[in-house]
């Protein structure tokens, strides 16, 4: 009997019944709670703003360090000048060969990775079974995860000798080598984003197409891909960004000759990209010299370029998401 009583007293309900705390808050407690939650929100907001602060600081510092160059030499020299001899006397900082070099290898990469990536995305979204897809996606992710220096390593120690000996090129370190490597690196980005947007196209369109008697190839090429084009464009743009911003592979594999390929279709010519120039020269450049500021100016150019591309891809991604949602909703 006594045991039962103790048990009853230990019951949580009993302790709540005995509690002396008032059920309503005093104005002071109310205010303290409010201030506390406000402070908490402020802290969270401050921490969250780190990303905004970071991007602002990146812009501020990269542009600030490139201003001395731009005010002395002007942006024109950097964009149209054809001679990049930063350590010569007098020095010349013509960035055109570097810009062309970047666009050249990126172009090769996208010409390979674009069609291949979109095809692979269509395969994953429309053709293979769920099981295969579950296996294929992690493999593509692994391809994206391999460090760029590993691709560069592969390019110069295994691909370059092969190009030189089997294909008889003068040097294995050239635009083709770097372009192919960049294509492999850009593929995962293109595949996964295109695949997302193709999957988001929805069953209705596909079923309607099949219902009209279209084959699978016709459905994918004429219905699904056009419907998901926003996402595909965004994917290709992100692939371009990946390729143009890549440093180690082009530094190691592209040959680093600051010259515009001539003739333009000669894939075995050596090129030098903007990223590789910064990476190769910043380490040995004395700080706060013209050369140092010029490298920052190239960095600013690169930053602006990718920033604009990012905005464009965001626009297309947003559009494809909105249309996708609208289709599902209605």
């Amino acid at each position: 009997m006594g045991r039962r009583m103790t048990q009853l007293n230990d019951h949580p309900a009993a302790s709540i019944a005995r509690a002396s705390r008032a059920l309503t808050l005093t104005p002071g407690q109310d205010l303290a709670g409010y201030i506390l939650s406000l402070a908490g929100r402020m802290v969270v907001l401050t921490i969250t703003s780190t990303s905004i602060l970071s991007i602002l600081l990146i812009f501020y510092f990269v542009i600030r360090e490139s201003l001395p160059f731009l005010s002395e030499w002007g942006a024109g020299e950097l964009i149209v000048g054809r001679e990049w001899y930063p350590t010569a006397r007098p020095a010349s900082f013509g960035g055109l060969p570097l810009i062309v070099g970047s666009l050249y290898v990126t172009g090769i990469a996208i010409l390979i990775a674009g069609p291949l990536g979109i095809l692979a995305a269509a395969l994953l979204s429309d053709i293979v079974s769920f099981r295969v897809r579950q296996w294929a996606k992690p493999i593509i992710e692994l391809l994206a995860a391999i460090p760029s220096v590993a691709y560069g390593f592969f390019a110069i120690l295994l691909v370059a000798p092969w190009l030189q000996e089997t294909l008889g090129m003068d040097s294995g370190r050239n635009a083709l080598n770097a372009g192919v490597m960049l294509a492999i690196m850009a593929l995962p980005t293109i595949v996964s984003i295109s695949e997302d947007s193709l999957t988001a196209v929805g069953r209705e369109l596909r079923e309607a197409s099949y219902g009209l008697g279209a084959t699978r190839a016709e459905t994918v090429l004429k219905v699904v891909i056009p419907a998901g084009r926003g996402g595909i464009i965004a994917a290709v743009i992100l692939g371009i960004m990946r390729a143009i911003g890549e440093t180690m592979v082009v530094w190691m594999a592209a040959g680093n000759a600051a010259a515009i390929p001539s003739p333009w279709y000669d894939l075995s010519s050596s090129v030098r990209t903007m990223t590789a120039t910064i990476a190769a020269e910043m380490g040995e450049t004395p700080r706060h010299t013209d050369h140092y500021y010029a490298l920052f100016a190239i960095g600013a150019l690169l930053l602006g370029f990718t920033f604009v591309l990012n905005m464009v891809s965001d626009y297309f991604l947003g559009r494809s998401r909105r249309t996708g949602r609208a289709k599902v909703g209605k």
């Binding site: 939650s37 969250t48 590993a150 390593f153 595949v191 190839a217 960004m241 990223t275």
Partner: protein, 561 residues
């Protein structure tokens, strides 16, 4: 028509499968050779030179067993060195003459030690000088008949009791040996032989370590022969064949041709050396399968010629640690805010744009930013806004006190730069994980009276933790693999192990780049090149596979399976 359509449909499917197949093949083709060759850094056939190096440089191994092994190996090498010595007698006149003079001095010392009188010694030596001069003349001449005449003159003193049983007896041994040489070697071709001989000696030193009688080399990398069997094979090749370049048929390119060195020495005693080396190389080097796990922890020696990659591994770990310590809390809090926030809020839209832009910034620009911001300004301190004038009134400069670091690269600066780089990765992954937690969890905890903070920390966060962990692991692997952001902010190629995070360090990614592109040392140590990149790849792969497994488990769990 319909057949054509079906055929094109089939073709499309095949091409599409081909694209996926290409990707999987690319993964295999890229990773396969690097991992396979990289594993030879850890598992390989180590020679006796390897064990000697490990004992002398790293104090590893059993001295007693090594001594026994060295004795056996020395015995195996003895005939080879004997042949070399015998051949050299005929060729290297200067060396032989120097030896003859040395013996002459040693004889005087020996006589003095015996307590003979000065005058007696001088008299003895007058006679011995004739022996010496005859021998020297024989060494110097390039005419065989003349040489033999000189040798006979020296031989006339054989049996003289003043010389027999002393160091001078060596002269007569040399007379015999040289008589042999003169008969077999074409003395007129001495200069030609000498050039080849030097190459042979060099190749032998690379294969078996410094030759007996040579002064010990200054550089550690020359103090040992081929430490690995895979290095012994090319060294043996260099010993057995001489590479000649000759123009190819089209007259443009040079083609290499291997000429057996044996040919050059045909008919001499040295020709036998090549046979001996080829037959007995295994007993001279005693290769044995070796497992070298210390590769991952040993510091590098002699500019990567010996040792492991311990410094690089440590540097990469420190850099990622600093990076994650900073990026993880920032990322999770941001993700929590984003997951809870209303989508159409202006601040949220700006925030998302910023995160996307941050993810799109090229890694080399992060490097520039890290240099300008962390290395040159944030850590050492400096002016944020320089002094400026508006309407005649001067403002600023606005200064930042900093943390008192020097304006040099450091682990801290590199880690901070990497943290900014991986921030978007963590935020995106964590937000996705938090959003995947069913809304009912939150509603239930709010209904039980928990505040928003408590609901997040005690209910949502644990449920989302596997997903967040996936994001953390993925950013860890990203940070470990990046090179460009740490180029100007944190790394050097070769240097001391860092004592604190304010010092620069070596790192796997940058080290792989350096050893792959450095023309002087890289090609000599391919196992090291591939070993380093293999370590980096394995680190990243293991982290990624872990993340993939964790994510699929988390997804199953949230689905309630």
């Amino acid at each position: 028509m319909s057949r054509l359509r079906h055929a094109s449909d089939r073709a499309f499917t095949i091409v599409a499968y081909g694209s996926i197949f290409l990707m999987v093949a690319a993964l295999g083709i890229i990773l396969g050779p690097m991992i396979l060759r990289g594993s030879t850094a850890v598992i390989f056939r180590g020679t006796v030179e390897w064990r000697r190096m490990q004992l002398e440089r790293f104090e590893r191994g059993d001295p007693e067993r090594l001594r026994e092994e060295l004795e056996a190996v020395t015995a195996a090498r003895a005939p080879l060195y004997a042949k070399l010595e015998e051949f050299q007698q005929g060729l290297d006149a200067e060396r032989q003459i120097a030896a003859a003079r040395r013996i002459f001095r040693e004889y005087r010392d020996e006589m003095q030690a015996r307590g003979l009188e000065r005058q007696t010694i001088a008299q003895y030596r007058r006679d011995l000088r004739q022996v010496r001069d005859a021998l020297t003349a024989a060494y110097e001449t390039q005419d065989a008949v003349e040489a033999l005449a000189h040798l006979d003159a020296a031989d006339a003193w054989r049996g003289d009791e003043r010389f027999m049983g002393t160091v001078a007896e060596e002269y007569f041994r040399r007379v015999d040996a040289y008589r042999q040489v003169v008969r077999s070697v074409d003395l007129e071709r001495r200069e030609v032989y000498l050039e080849d001989l030097n190459e042979v000696r060099e190749a032998l030193a690379q294969l078996l370590g410094p030759l007996p009688g040579d002064p010990p080399p200054a550089l550690p990398m020359n103090q040992y022969g081929a430490t690995r069997w895979d290095q012994a094979e090319p060294a043996l090749q260099r010993l057995l064949y001489r590479v000649e370049w000759e123009p190819a048929d089209n007259g443009e390119m040079l083609v290499q041709r291997l000429v057996p060195r044996r040919k050059a020495f045909e008919g001499t005693v040295l020709a036998g050396l090549f046979d001996v080396v080829e037959q007995d190389i295994t007993s001279m080097l005693n290769p044995r399968w070796t497992f070298y796990p210390q590769f991952f922890t040993d510091p590098t020696r002699s500019n990567h010629f010996f040792g492991g990659i311990g410094d690089e591994v440590l540097g990469t770990l420190l850099l990622t640690l600093v990076c994650m310590l900073i990026a993880t809390p920032l990322g999770i809090v941001s993700a929590a805010y984003l997951a809870e926030a209303r989508e159409d809020h202006l601040f949220v839209r700006v925030l998302r744009t910023c995160i996307n832009s941050l993810a799109g910034v090229p890694s080399i620009v992060f490097g520039l930013f890290g240099l300008a911001f962390f290395v040159l300004w944030f850590l050492p301190g400096g002016a944020l806004i320089p002094r400026f004038e508006v309407a005649g009134r001067a403002f600023g400069p606005v200064n930042w006190p900093g943390f008192g670091l020097s304006r040099e690269s450091s682990i801290l600066a590199g880690g901070l730069t990497l943290a900014v780089l991986v921030l978007p990765v963590i935020i995106r992954a964590s937000e996705e994980a938090i959003r995947a937690v069913p809304q009912t969890y939150k509603e239930a905890s709010l209904a039980l009276g928990a505040g928003r903070l408590r609901a997040f920390v005690t209910v949502i966060l644990p449920a989302a933790l596997p997903g967040i962990l996936t994001g953390i692991i993925l950013s860890l692997s990203r940070a470990a693999g990046e090179t460009a952001p740490i180029l100007f902010t944190a790394v050097f190629a070769i240097g001391p192990r860092p004592g604190s995070v304010t010092q620069p360090t070596a790192a796997l990614s940058y080290g792989s780049f350096m050893i792959a592109t450095a023309d002087n040392i890289g090609p000599m140590v391919p196992h090291k090149q591939y070993g380093m990149i293999m370590t980096l790849i394995l680190l990243v792969l293991v982290l990624n596979v872990l993340a993939i497994l964790l994510r699929s488990r988390a997804a199953r769990k949230l689905r309630g399976q």
